[in-house]
Symmetry: none
Subunit: 194 residues, 4 copies
């Protein structure tokens, strides 16, 4: 949904991400955002209807980045397991890079109970993985008595949670590679068609 053509829209969005990452959502004022963006107070409202409208926009931006990164990386990968590895790698990478923004998204999530908006943002990501899974089933790479929709969502959640526990909750008893391996195997054992 990003109006990438519009200079100011993105300037504001980036300024918002920067300031909120640093200060947290609550302590971030519009005035701090516009100051960083180098625009006037009132101009903000020409591009966003309210402060709350920032959050879905930020989340949307984040998911676009994630999905694009994943799609980029899977070029040439053939098996489902290669794709899974890429998804894990990229999710960890992006979680590390955007941890503050992710936390913000969680807090934004609670505002207005805007779950629907949330779901619609995730939608393309879910659907993309559903396709991948269906292909894998078709190719006899993975078992077929699963609910594809539910499994796509579960896998994404699983990986996201693991990476958040690693980078945000600092649950770092194990090295990055150990954790990535653990999650890869956890999923593989569950889905692999032996």
């Amino acid at each position: 949904m990003a109006r990438s053509s519009d200079d100011k829209y993105n300037k504001i969005l980036q300024a918002a991400i920067d300031v909120i990452s640093e200060k947290g959502l609550d302590k971030t004022s519009i005035s701090a955002i516009v100051k960083k963006a180098g625009i006037a107070q009132g101009t903000f409202y020409l591009y966003f209807s309210s402060k709350k409208a920032l959050i879905p926009a930020i989340a949307d931006n984040l998911f676009t980045i994630t999905l694009e990164a994943v799609k980029d990386e899977i070029q040439g990968k053939e098996t489902f397991w290669d794709v899974l590895e890429v998804v894990i790698d990229e999710t960890f990478k992006i979680t590390d890079a955007y941890k503050d923004v992710i936390v913000l998204c969680y807090s934004g999530l609670a505002i207005d109970y805007s779950m629907e908006k949330w779901e619609s943002i995730y939608q393309p990501y879910y659907e993309w993985l559903e396709d991948i899974i269906n292909t894998a089933i078709h190719n006899n790479e993975i078992i077929n008595d699963i609910n594809v929709k539910w499994t796509a969502r579960t896998i994404i959640n699983l990986i996201e949670n693991a990476s958040e526990r690693f980078y945000i909750s600092h649950e770092q008893d194990n090295s990055l590679n150990v954790v990535k391996n653990e999650i890869f195997n956890f999923i593989k054992r569950s889905l692999f068609r032996g």
Copy 2:
């Protein structure tokens, strides 16, 4: 941590849960809480240092309830898989009952980056499940080449996420039982020692 002996502490806590569940954290004022609790504005601050201090207390309360419910239900269950079923059942039950509070906890999570507090609240739950897993490994019920700590956390996250997607995100394409089954099997396939 629950000072169940302290009348007023719990009165405030319950009022806070009620009001926040209804209105959301942002739109909940202390004055609404104290009004519901039937105490004076200042009295709130004798029991909680600030509005933010409510959130860990509420979360703590929620986890105490969950863990107690689980422990209650597993009386007499023998196998790991029975226990897993109970954990799934209870998690879904409590997610349903406390969905508003759970959302609030997520948003609270972002305030002050208080991840440490968060972790310490989950800790007993994690440790309890680690014990269960270790026993299951010992009994040859599940495979043994897993990282127990990481797996305990992952299972809990997995189940919580599934139930939240079901009750909070209203991802209800499938019936409750189908979903519960799906998650049970997802985990079982991954851990079962055939």
Copy 3:
């Protein structure tokens, strides 16, 4: 420092002086000031960073008035003693007119131990009198074995205290003229070069 061009700044300052004079600093709320000034609550904070920031501004305003009044009146006066008389006259006049504000300044003085600010406000007044004294020494009107800086400060304090005792502490056993005379002579006896 008076931004006489700025309409609102002065409107607030005047309203603050009025309200504080009437009610005292402690019992004066910002809301009373803005009400009197005919502006919104938030507007106050566009011009003053806090309630406390009013006090130096008020004091500054008061001193500017005093010094200007004195300078106005000494036009054409030739001797040091004529000038001293004017200083006494004007100090008493202004003390009478602004007694409430002066009391407020004393109390404000204690807030934040902001003595430095205080000193910098007095500075131009002190320096002006130092010049007068130096000229008087040069003209052989007064003795020359004094510390000019210290003496300037002392004379101003002496006169201010006398007028405050008269108008604020109501130490009015003697008529205004008697008191003025007493102080004039006290100083003259001390400094006159016979």
Copy 4:
């Protein structure tokens, strides 16, 4: 007025002086005072009718100390000029020791416009100096065409202000002795019967 027999009264008074000296009047709460005094919140009100009632009590305490110190030191001094020297010495000494309390008294001065109370506290000090001056006139040490009451007040104010400028406003261009000398001579030149 000091109920020196009453243990708790003085314990509170001393705690108040300590806390207020450190934090300033505004930021000092009764709760901090009672905590320091080691008594209960309510007990404060058995000895002082309100927070404001503290200030005259503190001031009274300060003046009692000052006057006693002066009286102590003038034992055996014969001339008015010896006494004047003692008054200067002791005033500077006490100003240095109690600067924070003095500042507090200034700010308290503005509360309630309680000038009358103020005057009554100073009264014994003023009267004591009037007696000294009358004796000096009688002994032909100083000139006789002065208003004794006014002069007593003026001398005390003069010395107090000089010492406050020195210790509180840090007007320390000159050494302590230079300043003391300056003030002694300023007064002597004004009053000496040559």
